[in-house]
């Protein structure tokens, strides 16, 4: 079928999702969150506010948090997407995830993937954030259960765990 205004030509999306190359045909109007959830079966990112306010759909695009609900999927072409499914490794949970578990920073869990990924981005650029830096960076992620205190503790804890891990790998 010939492309027209009613039927725009599909776009070949070639991207990297959780370190694996992915290639699929998408409509220009496809939203990244729908491609993640419906085409790739990665349901960790959640649709909630749909307006970039809540952070439940957070994924990392080249390491930076974006709202997958408000990102056109073609924008991910040639870039690296990281979702919550990419964090845990063969040896178990990622240190940030483990810190969230140990600090009971989770209740219903709906917002947790977004918080964990935002934390990963924060600690990548600022390994020892102050409490107010954590609050600033995570201010756009909403949680309706925990009251935030345990989340803030978990992020500070995760920073220490990552620092310890990185220290080990540098000396070993």
């Amino acid at each position: 079928m010939r492309a027209s205004a009613d039927h725009p030509a599909p776009i070949l999306l070639e991207t990297t999702v959780n370190r694996r190359p992915v290639s699929l045909e998408i409509e220009p109007r496809a939203i990244l969150l729908d491609v993640m959830r419906d085409n790739l079966g990665l349901t960790g990112a959640k649709r909630s506010c749909d307006t970039q306010v809540c952070g439940a759909c957070t994924v990392l695009l080249d390491g930076s948090p974006v709202s997958a609900c408000c990102t056109l999927a073609y924008e991910a072409g040639g870039r690296e997407i990281e979702t919550i499914e990419g964090l845990a490794g063969r040896h178990g949970l990622h240190p940030i995830q483990q810190a969230f578990v140990d600090r009971v920073a989770i209740q219903c869990g709906f917002c947790t993937p977004g918080f964990v990924l935002a934390t990963k981005a924060l600690l990548a650029e600022n390994p020892r954030p102050t409490r107010s830096e954590i609050e600033d960076f995570l201010g756009g992620n909403l949680c309706r259960c925990t009251g935030y205190w345990n989340i803030l503790d978990a992020v500070a804890d995760a920073a220490m765990r990552l620092e310890a891990t990185n220290g080990q790998s540098e000396t070993s």
């Binding site: 492309a3 205004a5 009613d6 039927h7 725009p8 030509a9 776009i11 409509e27 220009p28 109007r29 939203i31 729908d34 649709r47 749909d50 307006t51 970039q52 306010v53 952070g55 957070t58 695009l61 930076s64 948090p65 974006v66 709202s67 408000c70 990102t71 056109l72 073609y74 935002a118 981005a121 107010s132 600033d136 960076f137 201010g139 756009g140 992620n141």
Partner: protein, 297 residues
């Protein structure tokens, strides 16, 4: 799940090509940059554009550069809020702009949203639009038939309306560095991510007296408003906090506002007075040598 109506994406490699596409498709086309506002409008089906012109691949359009000879900052239209927040030259020479950008919405919006898109959308709660109007920033618009420059004050013409012609692309925003006797400040009041009232002040002082003032209110009306009466009151006043208190009453009375569904008019005026006093007092203090405190919320 909200499915957008169908559209075609165009990725021009030059501003001239983008302008030609806009001219060719007319009202069926919209410039697409960060999409933080456009996509929400399209999801809500308040507008639909069968052709989106993605200008982010145009070389050089993301650049932030300072010209030391002209003492001028040049910001490419598709620089994101995050780019501005983290730019060393912005942080060093335009710290008020840097701090403002660091507090726009949230980290995800700042990663995607562009300065050019923000200004062209002309949403009345735009933080950068208010400060850039006070700083007398110049907007460069380019089409396939040439370029023109106009000041921020005449760029935003009304509620979500600008002087940009359909086939024009906003390419750069230039901001002159303030003189050493000039203080700049921006104060806003916001609940969560939406500013309710904001005032930007740029104040020059000579021998302890205010010689010039540009004061602009944002968020309270349809567009950033120069407060000419407030500016006139400030000129000739001593460079002291009391002058800010006097001027703040004029801010309250002068702003054009009818309130909105969230805030009454009286409340909005009171907020404008408070943020106005803070901004004017901070600009006066900085004009006489106080440093900008980087971690003020």
């Amino acid at each position: 799940m909200i499915v957008l109506d169908r559209f075609t994406i165009h990725q021009p490699q030059s501003v001239a090509e983008a302008s030609e596409l806009l001219a060719r498709f007319g009202p069926d086309a919209a410039v697409y940059a960060g999409g933080t506002e456009l996509l929400i409008v399209m999801k809500e089906r308040l507008a639909h554009f069968p052709h989106l012109i993605d200008i982010k691949r145009i070389p050089g359009l993301k650049e932030i550069a300072f010209d030391p000879e002209r003492h001028e900052l040049s910001i490419g239209a598709v620089a994101t809020h995050r780019d501005l927040e983290r730019s060393p030259v912005v942080r060093e020479r335009f710290p008020v702009l840097g701090m403002l950008e660091a507090a726009v919405a949230n980290i995800r919006v700042r990663n995607a949203g562009t300065i050019g898109g923000n200004l062209c959308f002309a949403e009345p709660h735009s933080d950068p639009a208010t400060l850039l109007t006070a700083l007398d920033a110049q907007i460069t618009l380019t089409s396939s038939s040439g370029s023109r420059q106009l000041p921020m004050a005449s760029f935003i013409t009304g509620l979500m309306e600008t002087a940009r012609r359909h086939e024009e692309v906003l390419v750069t925003i230039t901001v002159a560095e303030s003189a050493s006797n000039t203080g700049v400040a921006y104060e806003r009041f916001k609940l969560h991510e939406r500013p309710t009232a904001a005032v930007a002040a740029v104040i020059s002082v000579d021998e302890g007296m205010i010689t010039d003032a540009r004061v602009v209110a944002g968020s309270v009306g349809e567009r950033p408003q120069r407060l000419l009466e407030t500016e006139a009151i400030l000129r000739g006043q001593p460079a002291a906090p009391e002058s800010a208190t006097v001027a703040a009453d004029i801010v309250r009375d002068e702003v054009e506002t009818g309130g909105d569904v969230f805030e009454s008019e009286a409340y909005t005026r009171q907020l404008a007075r408070t943020v106005g006093r803070k901004a004017i007092a901070a600009a006066i203090a900085r004009s006489t040598g106080d440093q900008v405190e980087r971690h003020v919320a």
